[in-house]
């Protein structure tokens, strides 16, 4: 959900030393060896959770192994959509199915942090969208990624929650149309948190609520990633490596993910609709070729409108964290003013 790029923090201190020692004890207990932590540094990405990078050298039975790790832990114990253990199990399901996702290793305990946490095996690569869009060494990645993302999404949508024991993922009530459910859910959030009126969002809600997709009986129910966009993709010069940030996954309409990656905010200044680097046709064709269902562009458009509105409401909610006194972050405060970007895009999409 975080819009901010992952950036290295220069904070150091005894708190980090304590964490390093606790991680050593934790990993020693999990592996039955002796663990030494090095290069522990914080990468920040979101307001509600911290991301740390570290190497753990594990000595066991006369052998030494270096484990490159990522630790994610909640700051205030305030989980968003999925709990960390649930996100861990979902990533495990994806990894076991051969979907390019980080390999989950352990769920953390209270020694790792007050909130919930987990460890995954670190994959080297880049996540910064502006590098992908602008740097010469990523020219091949820019060419390869649109089709790779289409195929990746088809793989994600094929994960069967039931066979992986993921029946408790968030889902619309049985028989309820997922589009109607999501629009109503975000309308409730908007009415509860917006500090001022937003006529542009009212026009968008009317457009969505009157769309044929919302009027359908039932509707598709598949595993959706929920935050499928550039920024959550780890890539190298050759292209896709793994998909990150699974905490907004839920059961819903798979076209929700296809619409979300087309939201203008995730083009990062690029001209093309799919993450700034790809055309819709190529992305849709790769999705279908990899076993995804047939893509109806009008349905994707519905979810692109929804995605813009949803990101706009998330902007409001991030600013509310500042307005309500839970954070003094200048980034969270200033995101409130990005709401108007989504309003402009919504007007362009729905005015006919």
């Amino acid at each position: 959900m975080a819009s901010a790029p992952f950036v290295e923090s220069d904070s150091v201190g005894t708190e980090n030393d304590d964490l390093a020692r606790n991680i050593e004890s934790f990993i020693a207990a999990r592996t039955g060896g002796i663990a030494a932590v090095s290069d522990l540094k914080r990468l920040t990405g979101g307001a509600s959770r911290e991301t740390w990078s570290l190497d753990a050298i594990v000595a066991r039975d006369g052998e030494k192994e270096t484990l490159p790790l990522i630790l994610q832990r909640d700051v205030r114990g305030a989980a968003k959509a999925l709990s960390r253990p649930m996100e861990f199990r979902l990533m495990k399901a994806a990894f076991d199915d051969g979907v390019p996702a980080p390999e989950p290793l352990w769920v953390g305990d209270e020694t790792i942090g007050k909130g919930e946490s987990f460890f995954v095996r670190r994959v080297d690569g880049e996540t910064l969208p502006r590098r992908l869009l602008r740097e010469d060494i990523y020219a091949e990645a820019r060419r390869a990624l649109p089709a790779q993302l289409g195929a990746l999404l088809a793989q994600i949508h094929r994960i069967d929650p039931a066979t992986h024991g993921l029946d408790t993922l968030p889902a619309p009530p049985a028989g309820e149309n997922p589009a109607k459910f999501e629009v109503q859910r975000y309308e409730q959030i908007f009415r509860a948190i917006a500090p001022e009126p937003h006529p542009a969002f009212e026009l968008a809600f009317r457009w969505l609520n009157r769309h044929p997709v919302v009027a359908e009986e039932g509707g598709p129910r598949l595993l959706t990633h929920g935050d499928f966009r550039i920024g959550n993709v780890l890539f190298g010069p050759e292209g896709l490596r793994v998909m990150l940030d699974w905490e907004l996954a839920h059961i819903g309409d798979p076209m929700e993910d296809m619409g979300f990656i087309c939201v203008r905010s995730w083009r990062f200044g690029g001209a093309k609709p799919v993450g700034g680097i790809g055309d819709r046709e190529e992305f849709f064709a790769a999705y279908e070729a990899a076993g995804g269902e047939n893509v109806d562009p009008e349905r994707v458009r519905f979810w692109e409108v929804f995605g813009n509105l949803r990101w706009g409401i998330i902007c409001i909610s991030q600013a509310r964290t500042y307005l309500d006194g839970h954070s003094n972050s200048v980034e969270l405060a200033s995101i409130g003013r990005r709401t108007s970007e989504t309003e402009w895009e919504l007007l362009n999409l729905i005015e006919k």
């Binding site: 901010a4 790029p5 950036v7 290295e8 923090s9 220069d10 904070s11 920040t44 001022e196 009126p197 937003h198 006529p199 542009a200 009212e202 026009l203 809600f205 009317r206 009157r210 001209a271 972050s329 200048v330 980034e331 405060a333 200033s334 003013r337 990005r338 108007s340 970007e341 309003e343 402009w344 007007l347 362009n348 005015e351």
Partner: protein
Amino acid sequence: MHDRPTVDELLRAVEVLFDEQLVPGLTGSRQYNARVAANVIRTVRRELQHEEPRLAQEWAGLDMLLGPAELPGSLAALKVALADRNAELSERIRNGDADAPDGDGEWRKLVFAHVRNTVHAKLEAANPKWLDADA
């Protein structure tokens, strides 16, 4: 009446400090946050530059949609009254008044034109580059 430098002139000095000294001298999350702070200063400067005429234009646009009302005398009163009138406009959109060309299609067109103007004015302050890419 305050002395020179004006608010804009003071903020410009802070903006230059961030851009030329703080941002290049920092790394990691501090550099990122300093860059965000410099952008906040730019937003505030752009907002103050056009604030009064833009709010008056928004009021005039709402007059067209909701019927004429007297323009409040002070800037503070204007902001409070604008929030009330925007709530009224929102309520009418929610009730379907701007839905269909087969109903009052003319009002729908006026609503879109007005909302587009007000969002345009917000972006002129918050992120004018967002408007560039549009044809």
